[in-house]
Symmetry: D2
Subunit: 345 residues, 4 copies
């Protein structure tokens, strides 16, 4: 049994990691840190876990962390994560960091969108944890930068088109809609039930920090530096992201040919479900699962293609993908403990 620890267990990503890890047959949860809930049972904080695990939240000093587990999930905010990484890696531990701190390869870009980086030397070895694109690199590494939720949906949606050069990268517009769990569990007026329910809005228009992460991967896939437009919206649901991505086709191509490109690209992927016959994804069909459902439509009237990509933002967009990365790091079957069928309705 591998011992795993969750650093930052009191958020929605933390409880989801606990939910998945608790039923994973090859690992044991040995640590759940939380300053706020220090000393309280994790199942008391998150009563869905009641009776399923027996672990208390702890406020552990950074230097005491390493001895408590073999692999660590960092479910803390950016800037906090970079403070933990060097110590854990130097102690010989594996780390899956769910924050943004090691996702951007270029520290200049990181510092432009975030704040100064205190562990630049680890940027080089960190692997971007999108297994469908970086499986081999993840397998042998020590530090995985688990992708952002929006980037996961958008990059998986676009990768086949970009790799085959089928779209003009400069025309990409990604209109994404996320469930409110993406905003975290911190108390605040803006995410109160009455502010969100029965409503809909955009936020951080043109300035969301997932933009450079998407651009980095899009640029790599098409082989040149690209700027994209990415606008996030807040859905009155708890879980789920649907990204609707628009781009101009670079050549005449029909629906069936595009379907073949996607089928070929994702043929063997357990977690990517390519839709056929112009079927469209929906967040409710991936709820609670690690699947990414992808549909698309060639629009001959305008010469554009519309790609639709749905994930559960807490699973494939965070905790599930982190466990998928853990499975790769530990040599387990990639879908071990992650075969949940989506809950519908």
């Amino acid at each position: 049994m591998i011992r795993v620890g969750i650093v930052g267990a009191s958020g929605y990503t933390g409880v989801e990691l606990a939910r998945i890890v608790t039923r994973h047959p090859e690992v044991e949860l040995t640590l759940a840190t939380s300053r706020q809930y220090d000393g309280r049972s994790l199942a008391e904080v998150f009563p869905n876990l009641r009776g399923q695990l027996d672990i208390k939240c702890e406020n552990v000093a950074p230097e005491k962390l390493a001895e408590r587990a073999d692999l660590f999930f960092l479910a803390v905010p950016h800037q906090t994560a970079m403070a933990y990484v060097p110590g854990l890696i130097e102690a010989g531990k594996k780390v899956v960091d769910l924050s943004a701190d090691f996702r951007l390869r270029d520290p200049v870009v990181y510092e432009e969108w975030y704040q100064p980086h205190s562990a630049v030397e680890y940027l080089k070895e960190a692997v971007y944890g999108l297994p469908e694109l970086y499986r081999q690199q993840i397998t042998g590494c020590r530090l995985v930068a688990n992708p952002g939720c929006y980037p996961t949906s958008i990059i998986l949606g676009l990768a086949p088109l970009l790799q085959k050069g089928l779209i003009e990268p400069g025309t990409i517009v990604a209109d994404s809609k996320s469930g409110t769990s993406g905003a975290g569990r911190k108390a605040g007026t803006a995410t109160l039930f009455c502010e969100v329910a029965d409503g809909f809005r955009a936020y951080k228009v043109g300035e969301h920090r997932h933009t450079p992460e998407i651009e980095q991967e899009v640029s790599r896939l098409c082989g040149k530096s690209v700027k994209i437009t990415f606008i996030p919206h807040l859905l009155p649901i708890s879980r789920g992201i649907l990204s609707t991505v628009y781009a101009t086709l670079s050549r005449d191509i029909n629906q069936e040919e595009v379907e073949a490109v996607y089928a070929d690209f994702y043929g063997n992927e357990f977690f990517v479900r390519v839709l056929r016959d112009s079927a469209l994804p929906a967040t409710q069909y991936v709820r609670g699962s690690n699947f990414c459902d992808i549909g698309f439509k060639v629009d001959n009237r305008t010469g554009r293609i519309i790609v639709l990509s749905a994930i559960d933002n807490i699973v494939k967009g965070a905790a599930g993908q982190a466990v998928q990365n853990m499975n790769l790091l530990c040599g387990f079957a990639e879908n071990l403990g992650l075969r949940h069928i989506p809950l519908f309705p």
Copy 2:
């Protein structure tokens, strides 16, 4: 008192017309037709109306309609509406048609997206009922084609930019999200609570019938024939549309200049609220009202502008705008009976 009739009172547009008209000081509801609920009190069908009006649903033969009111709201499906219009107009009545039958000026386009048109001769005189753009024409006409809900949000959002030539019309992408009331009140599996709640999806990707209506008005505003991309999505809320519209700017312009353009264009409009200081609209702030809230963001990184436009799809997107048109047709103050402040939360 003007006598008004609602033809097709059993849908969500019908009940909303009844709600507004019942409190309107200058009109009296004298007719509410419904085949399905013939003989039943309208307030029994829609218990929110309980005690507020005393009218029964009737199944009235078309030739008996005209005598029952002075002005008619047609809240019936397209194709049905065109069968009523000639008789009512010939009988000297005013008509506000909420269907799509008289929105498209070109019968060829209409027949391409819908079905054969049986009252082509009325297409010429019908006025597109967007008062902010066609106020004068509406005032003197007999037949108003009340705009679609999506087109209302998108056209009001884009009009200032198009009129001033600030965007490249061929680059317009309109990503719209609508509450489920837009799908009507007909029983069907796809709009059951459990299919919609806690979920999100796109539908009719690249083929929604509001596309030619948007293109007609965009083309008129910019003075040349334009094709746009319009993708509707279904929100798990009852009321509200938010359209996020993307376009490439045709010249360098900053946020403040764009704000001035909108303020100038909509300066005196009661129902259009232009947001300042990069504030963003949200459907929950227009709920139950006839307002259209418009925000925008110049994105210097990509040379695009993002326009966000929020309405209540049943009010400004249907019944409220119809009453606004009625006010113009009857010479009342344009906002009479329509000054509801949005309900929040």
Copy 3:
């Protein structure tokens, strides 16, 4: 024009008072206090109000309040309200207090459920602001204790039965369900969207502070001291309370006889809608309105009656009822500015 002030304008009751008062033809909003939003436009805090009023939030010292308006709505927490009342009353102002501070006639009961009372001398003159029961007393008073939301729904539901002695008061069980706006707008984890949405729970079982308020009025109506069971629940909706109240019938009586009792009791009330023919109320049919819809069912199998009572907790349960009381205090028509038809859907 009467000048009115809202003390505590930054909560959901505050914004709803502003929404109603702004369109009221006989009053003018001259003051909106908020410590948190001091200096900010109320319409910026609550964008639904955008463009409809021009007032800034202010942090006003208590001794400066009185000069700013003729009538005050206190939309502040209990204990805070009692600090404002003496000064305002002594300055000759009218006060509608929406807190619990003056609802309980017996200071001993108040102090048992709340904390020490600092203005006991005003308890005697305060009138419990349920106009359907205390209309005359309200008309001539200076200080109205606006009822709690739950008590409003339960007392209006039970009053006819209690007055006629048709039920055994000791058997009353009130199972109430409230929308989340009842929990206020204070940031906190428990009312975050993700904690409330798609879920349901009871809270404060057997210890909610509305219990003594309900017992006081039930006891008065039946003429003897009664203890009841009252359990509140949290609904994943913003607005609305449905109370399901159970009691054992004190004699054989059938559905039609009970209907006659209710019709007789509430015959002339504008805001109480008694349902006939075993129809059942629902929160969605009173949304945004000051109506209280009441239905009931005699259950011959068990000798019990079940009364169902629906209100919008922010309107009839708070701001609307406060304006109804204001209308009585000021000699206006009782429903002036309050005739909103419920918004459905």
Copy 4:
């Protein structure tokens, strides 16, 4: 591998059975019947299942059913189920009937609340499928009558109190609230999103057909014939039932003593989670799981106890409990394939 068939796979219970059974390690889904979707892939009808199973819906003649599986789940309406049972049992098959047809032991009661019964001879051998109460009988039987969703929550909540004689059975009032999936997937106006969302109502007050089922089990547990009051309500959520049950205590007893009674009664049950320290259950903490969470509060003021019981109506209230019964019938571990941790948020 045991071959299992789902008769009536096109409803919400059907898809949930498919979700659970597909991942069950000891059974294979060999049949999914549906008249409506005959010939279509089940994963096309329910896209959450996409890629997880490969089975087509079939319209199978009753006489051809038996050969297709070893155990059958009947997820069809009452009256339809009783037509299938004799043939399947006579062919030597095991049957878990999720309809009401074999739940009531007394055919007279059945016919009073439903319609004539055509397979009365099977009522005697059918076992009421609440494993926590009837484990032994289920293990050896051929026909399990899977309990109703409301009765499951109420009976599990009351059983310890009734068995110990701690409450007056005649005073029981059960106020239950259910998610909308309980209303099924049949198209109808009443369960459209816009009719249910953002609202709340009671229905079938005093006449719901689960009443005699609850009374049968309550009567058995307390050893005398009892009538109860049961009122169901419709929640604007998809999954979940919370029952709030009121009863007068038959003797002085405190919270800790009651806790001990429950802990003792349910000590070894995997699926019943008894809450301690006056904690309260909520539907969101059992979502997607087979758990029943039970809390309670002794109210000394009134001499009553309030029991709160939460389940996922599609899992413990239907499909999950059916699989639990299947596990007993087949000699598998009772929780095999059913250890899903609830999904929160």
